[in-house]
Amino acid sequence: MTTTSQKSPSVVEVSVSGAPRRGMASRLLSRLGSGALQTVLVLVALFWMVPVIGLLLVSLRSEADNTNSGWWTVLLKPAELTLDNYRGLVDNDVLVRSFLNTVYISVPSTLLVVGIGALAAYALVWMDFPGRDWIMVGVVGLLVLPIQAALIPISQLYGALGIFGSILGAILFHVAFGLPFAVFLLRNFFVNIPRDLLEAARMDGAGEWRIFRRVVLPVARPALASLAVFQFLWVWNDMLVALVFTSPDSAPLTVALRSQLRQFGTNIDVLASGAFLSMLVPLLVFFAFQRSFVQGVFAGSGK
């Protein structure tokens, strides 16, 4: 109902004309106030972004320039900017392969966690079976299990299964450790979906699978999107799991970049451009999904 009134221009007009008139001075003050606030916010944001901007500029300068002067000098000498480092990156077989490895690990890990998590959460909320609450307790318990405690036993298991050092091994590990949080988050979201909505679909002729796919999943989109972004960022940025479970052939970008460090010299040209590239993808993912973080998805389903 609020939405309707917001959309109707006549209502807005009425409220504007009905508002008490304020003096010019107070209006000027409030303008100034909001202007000052905005300036401060922009400054804080810029300050926060200094390292990122620095990294970007470093990646856009030649290695020699970087050794001779700080990255900020480029602001006065834009001629120093060059895409050479990125060209070098594309020619670097190790980094290209590791970039693809990162994608091969992150994408399935994210999809599997969201998919399995949603199915599990649906069952835990909407289906009646013995031991349901105990399973939920178990899931919450798994949330506090530190990854480090599992590294050695899982390595042994992978060794026995013959998947040690493979991409599959890394994916399985990420899925296993992503699921408790996924189930926890999605269950808490699903619990708030009105039961009537599912029953309406049931009366309309839908079975469990269709209710899940055509009602619950679309309604839960904000939760699914946030979970996907979280999980993707976590896997994309992970280094520990990759370091333990992948081989040079299956190593993702984080591990490969580290291997590019030279004993003498920084190799800054490769590292800066590689790091910036590895940062860019999660940012793109975030902006792609942010539209889904809209609140009030249930608006209008009920009264």
Partner: protein
């Protein structure tokens, strides 16, 4: 379209709570049956068992020729309108209405045609592309109706579909529901706690209390011949005045004593309620509908059919005037009246003052009664109701 036969239906929850007890109802093909009762009386549970959303503990539900106890909700071919409407928030009006048809994999053009037909009936054509979030309460309610109608089901089940609308819209939608049901002729079970809705909509009304069916019949029959104190008090607004009086036999003439005043019982009444004679000299519960009382100034007073009191409160409604006045009689307190009081949130059915129990009379707007005035109230004694104070059941024959 189909008849619905409910036979000895019962619902017991795992914790032992009994929500519905031995409910039997025969709902004819095309009939509009209203289940009514105070909150927690089991009416919604009964409806949900017909829908298949609640497991049946005892008894059977038959829709058409098919006993549906073991049939899942989606295969029962009945449509339900929920109290909360339960519209799919991510779909627009068209998709909401079409949802059930799409699940049945109907051809696209047929879906399109049927949805537009229904939208036309419900005046939703202009809103087909809007999401539920951008609709008003009344429009959402109509979309919920549309979703049920479009499927052309064997029966409609409606769970308090109007309770979230404001009073004026509710009256409008009530008429629309009645019209649609009449035009489509689909068997309908309608649950409400609002007795006005029940009376205006139902071909028959079934009154429930604490999971038990009290009485079922056409609205007027329930109003004129309530089978017990609960139905008497529940049906009608303002409710029936119920007071404890003594039945006196005097030379073969029967009278009720209300404090120091007497009302003579006409022969016709005794003829219709022969069992009343057996209560001579005993306490009975007397029920008087507000409209069976009138200002004696207007209709003239008759000996033995007039009560005198002092107007305590006068409410002018425009079409009539509600006059509250105390009578020197004992209030009725039984399990039924307590249940009614719980429903309205009051302690007793009739408020008692120092002067006795307060009754409500519905006077003609021509009355000039004012608060504090001594009034003569003419009572239509032929329409008096009597109940057994011990059992609460109506005193009829034998």
């Amino acid at each position: 379209m189909a008849e619905i036969v409910i036979d000895r239906l019962g619902k017991v929850y795992p914790d032992g709570t009994r929500a519905v007890d031995d409910l039997s109802l025969d709902i004819q093909d095309g009939e509009f049956l209203v289940l009514v009762g105070p909150s927690g009386c089991g009416k919604t549970t009964a409806l949900r068992m017909i829908a298949g959303l609640e497991e049946i503990s005892e008894g059977t539900v038959r829709i058409g020729d098919q006993v549906v106890n073991g049939v899942p909700a989606r295969d029962r071919d009945v449509a339900m309108v929920f109290q909360s409407y339960a519209l799919y928030p991510h779909l627009n009006v068209f998709e909401n209405i079409a949802f059930g048809l799409r699940l049945r994999k109907l051809p696209k053009d047929q879906i399109d045609r049927r949805v537009r037909e229904v939208a036309h009936v419900l005046e939703l054509q202009e809103h087909l592309t809007r999401k539920p979030g951008n609709l008003s309460g009344g429009q959402r309610q109509r979309v919920a109706m549309g979703r049920a109608i479009v499927r052309e089901p064997r029966a409609f089940l409606m769970d308090e579909p109007l309770s979230n609308l404001d009073a004026k819209l509710r009256v409008q939608m009530r008429a629309q529901i009645a019209r649609i049901q009449r035009d489509l002729g689909v068997t309908t079970v309608y649950v409400t706690h609002d007795q006005t809705e029940a009376m205006t909509l139902g071909d028959r009304v079934a009154v429930m209390k604490r999971g038990v069916l009290q009485q079922v019949g056409p609205p007027q029959e329930l109003y004129d011949h309530p089978c017990n104190l609960f139905v008497a008090g529940f049906v009608g607004s303002p409710g029936m005045n119920l007071i404890c009086v003594e039945l006196v036999e005097d030379d073969g003439r029967f009278r009720v004593r209300v404090g120091e005043q007497y009302l003579d019982l006409p022969d016709g009444l005794l003829h219709r309620r022969p069992a009343l004679r057996g209560y001579a000299g005993a306490k009975v519960v007397l029920g008087i509908r507000p409209e069976d009382m009138e200002d004696a100034e207007i209709v003239g007073s008759t000996e033995g059919a007039t009560l005198t009191s002092v107007a305590d409160l006068v409410e002018a409604m425009g079409s009539d005037v509600l006059v509250h006045f105390p009578l020197d009689a004992a209030p009725v307190v039984t399990e039924d009246t307590r249940e009614l009081a719980r429903d309205t949130g009051a302690d007793e059915t009739l408020p008692a003052t120092d002067d006795g129990v307060v009754l409500v009379g519905r006077f003609s707007p021509r009355t000039h009664v004012f608060e504090g005035q001594t009034i003569s109230v003419a009572v239509d004694t032929a329409r008096l109701q009597f109940f057994d104070p011990a059992t609460g059941t109506a005193i009829h024959d034998s």
